[in-house]
C-alpha cells in the first residue's frame, strides 16, 4: 500500500536535485520537525490554558475570560507575558544551581516525548522501535527534577511537595506501564505507528478501547496521577502545602513548571488517543469512503485530505480527553495521600496485572481478535 505523504523524503529529494549531498539535506531537514514540535506543544498549552479557564467558568456558571481577544482567546498569551516580565527570585540560602536545574529537568523529558507522537503514517518525528517504551522511560526522569526543585528551595513545603510528587509518580508508573504492556502484547510492537496501524482496520469498531476497557480506565487514571491533575494534585495541594514544590518559584522558572504540567497533560491525552482511540484513523475508515465514492486511493489530493483528516482526528481525540480531565478537575475533590497510595498499590496494580494476564490468555485463545 502507498505509505502516504513523506515530507522528509520529498524535501531531501528536492534539495539533492539542487546538487546538495543527501547527508547535508537530511541535516538541513532536522531543525524543521524540532521547531514544529516546540511550536505545536506551546500552542497546545495556550489552547489548554484557555480551555481550562473557559470550562471551569462554565462549570461554576461564570463567563470566564472575555476581554482579551474574541472570547478571551488571548488570555493565556497575557498570562505568559506576565510571567516573562516577573522578577526571578532566588530564595535566601537556596541552592542556586539545583534551583535552576529543577524546572529544566521537569520540562525537557516532556518535550522530548513528543518525538514519538504520530499524526499520520509518516507524520512523526522519529519512528523508533522502542517508541512507547521511550515515553515511559523519559517520564521517569521527571520525579528527579521535582525532588531537585523541592530540595533546592530551602522550604519545608517545597520539600514535602517534591517528595510527594516523586512518590506519586513512581507508584502510578507501574500500573501505567502494565496497561501499556497489554496493548503492546496485542500489537506485537512498541512502535506507536504499529500500534495505530493495528487498530485501523474497521474504523471505530477496531479501536483498542473495546478490547482493553479495563486497561483504558487504568491508563487514564494513572496518566492523570502522573500529570498531577486533580483529583491527584497532592504535590501542590494549596490548602496543605501552599503550592508544593513550586512555592518558591516565580517568573520564568515557575512558567516552566506550568508549561511542563500542561504539555504533559496534552501528551497523556495524545497517548490515550494513540493507544486506545485509534490515533489518526477516523471512526469510518477513509479507504472505505474513497472506495464507495470510486476515487483512486493513491491520488494526491486524497493523500492530502487523508493526512489533514488524520491530524485533525488525533487532535480532536486528544482534546476530548483534555476536556474530560478539566471537567474532572472542577468536579471531583482531592484524595488524601493514603487514599492515593492505596488506590495505586492495592487497587490499580493488581487489576493491571490481572488485565495483562487476561490479555495474554485471550491472545492465545483468540489470535485473530487479539493480534496473534
Amino acid at each position: 500500500m502507498n505509505s502516504g505523504i513523506d515530507l522528509q523524503g520529498t524535501f531531501v529529494q528536492s534539495l539533492s536535485d539542487f546538487g546538495i549531498s543527501t547527508e547535508l539535506a537530511k541535516i538541513l531537514w532536522m531543525p524543521f520537525p524540532m521547531l514544529l514540535m516546540l511550536i505545536g506543544a506551546t500552542v497546545g498549552v495556550l489552547v489548554n490554558v484557555w480551555l481550562e479557564r473557559k470550562i471551569s467558568a462554565a462549570v461554576q456558571q461564570r463567563i470566564g475570560p472575555e476581554f482579551a481577544g474574541p472570547l478571551g482567546v488571548l488570555q493565556p498569551v497575557a498570562d505568559g507575558l506576565k510571567l516573562v516580565f516577573k522578577e526571578d527570585i532566588l530564595p535566601a540560602k537556596a541552592d542556586p544551581f539545583l534551583f535552576t536545574m529543577g524546572p529544566i529537568l521537569v520540562v525537557m523529558p516532556v518535550f522530548l516525548s513528543y518525538l514519538i507522537v504520530p499524526f499520520g503514517q509518516n507524520l512523526v518525528i522519529t519512528n523508533i522501535n522502542t517508541g512507547i517504551f521511550l515515553w515511559i522511560a523519559l517520564s521517569s526522569i521527571v520525579p528527579i527534577g521535582l525532588l531537585m526543585a523541592g530540595y533546592a528551595s530551602n522550604n519545608k513545603y517545597s520539600l514535602i511537595g517534591g517528595l510527594r510528587a516523586a512518590a506519586q509518580s513512581i507508584s502510578y508508573e507501574i500500573p501505567l506501564a502494565l496497561s501499556v504492556l497489554a496493548i503492546v502484547l496485542m500489537s506485537n510492537s512498541l512502535s506507536t505507528i504499529d500500534i495505530v496501524e493495528q487498530q485501523s482496520g474497521y474504523g471505530i469498531l477496531s479501536w483498542n478501547v473495546w478490547r482493553q476497557p479495563i486497561g483504558f480506565v487504568i491508563f487514564w487514571i494513572s496518566a492523570l496521577a502522573e500529570c498531577e491533575r486533580l483529583p491527584f494534585d497532592l504535590p501542590e495541594a494549596e490548602e496543605e502545602l501552599v503550592a508544593g514544590y513550586q512555592t518558591e518559584y516565580s517568573g520564568m522558572k515557575f512558567a516552566l513548571f506550568y508549561v511542563g504540567s500542561y504539555v504533559n497533560l496534552v501528551l497523556s491525552a495524545l497517548m490515550v488517543a494513540i493507544l486506545y482511540l485509534g490515533g489518526w484513523s477516523s471512526p469510518i475508515p477513509i479507504e472505505l469512503l474513497s472506495n464507495l465514492a470510486g476515487v483512486d486511493p493513491t491520488s494526491s489530493w486524497l493523500q492530502v485530505v487523508g493526512a489533514s483528516l488524520g491530524i485533525a482526528m488525533t487532535i480532536l481525540k486528544a482534546y476530548f480527553l483534555v476536556f474530560l480531565a478539566i471537567l474532572t478537575r472542577w468536579t471531583v475533590p482531592r484524595v488524601r495521600i493514603d487514599q492515593l497510595l492505596n488506590l495505586g498499590w492495592k487497587f490499580l496494580l493488581p487489576i493491571a496485572l490481572a488485565n495483562l494476564l487476561i490479555t495474554a490468555a485471550l491472545k492465545l485463545a483468540f489470535p485473530t481478535a487479539f493480534g496473534g
Binding site: 539545583l98 522502542t130 515511559i136 522511560a137 521517569s140 526522569i141 528527579i144
Partner: protein, 195 residues
C-alpha cells in the same frame, strides 16, 4: 558517510566527558545530595552511549530502571533521613586520600593497558532494526536460568522490604518490654488480616 561519522565521534566525546566528569563528581563532592543527583547524570550519559552502540532498548531500560527507580530511591533515602552533621577533619586524613588515589590510579592504568593491548574483534554485522525480539529470545532460551534467579532474588528482597516496613516499633515503653526474648524486636501486636 563523513558527516554521520563526525557526528558520532563528537557525540561520543561529549558523552564520555559528561560521564567521566559526573562520575568523578559523585565520588569527590562532599555534599551527598550533589553526589546523588550527579549519579543520575552518570546513568543518563551511559544511556546515551548505549544509543550510540545501537542498543536502543537497553538504553531506555537503563533510564527507566536506574534513573527512574534506583536514583529516585537513593534521593528519597537521603532526603527523608536529612542528617545534618559536621564532620571533623581527621588527623593525617591525606594518607587515606592519597592511598585511595594511588589505588584508583593504579587500577585505571591497569584496565586501560588491558583495553589497549587486547585485540578487540569489532563486529561488522549491520545493526538489527529491533533489538527487543533477540533480547527476549535470549531471555527465554539460553539465559532463562539467570533471568529466573534474578526475579526470585527480587521477590525475596521485596518480601523482606515489606516485613521491615510493616513493623511498628513502640519507642515510648521500651523499658517495659525488657522481659521479652532478647532476639525479638519490641513490636506492637499486629492485627490479624481481615480483622
Amino acid at each position: 558517510m563523513q558527516i554521520a561519522e563526525g557526528v558520532q565521534l563528537v557525540t561520543f566525546a561529549i558523552l564520555s566527558i559528561l560521564l567521566v566528569g559526573a562520575a568523578l563528581g559523585v565520588v569527590l563532592f562532599a555534599n551527598i545530595v550533589y553526589s546523588a543527583f550527579l549519579l543520575g547524570g552518570v546513568f543518563i550519559s551511559m544511556a546515551g552511549i548505549y544509543i550510540l552502540l545501537n542498543a536502543d532498548f537497553v538504553s531506555a531500560a537503563q533510564i527507566l530502571v536506574y534513573v527512574g527507580a534506583v536514583n529516585v530511591l537513593i534521593l528519597f533515602a537521603i532526603m527523608l533521613v536529612n542528617k545534618r552533621e559536621d564532620f571533623k577533619p581527621l588527623k593525617n586524613g591525606w594518607i587515606r586520600q592519597g592511598s585511595t588515589a594511588v589505588v584508583c590510579g593504579g587500577l585505571f592504568a591497569l584496565l586501560s593497558a588491558v583495553s589497549i593491548v587486547t585485540p578487540w574483534s569489532i563486529s561488522t554485522v549491520s545493526p538489527l532494526a529491533s533489538s527487543v525480539v533477540p533480547i527476549a529470545k535470549h531471555f527465554f532460551t539460553d539465559f532463562l536460568l539467570p533471568f529466573e534467579l534474578a526475579s526470585i532474588l527480587l521477590l525475596m528482597s521485596m518480601v523482606g522490604a515489606i516485613i521491615l516496613a510493616r513493623r511498628d516499633f513502640l519507642p515510648d515503653n521500651l523499658g517495659a518490654t525488657s522481659t521479652q526474648d532478647s532476639l525479638t524486636l519490641p513490636e506492637r501486636p499486629r492485627e490479624l488480616a481481615g480483622k
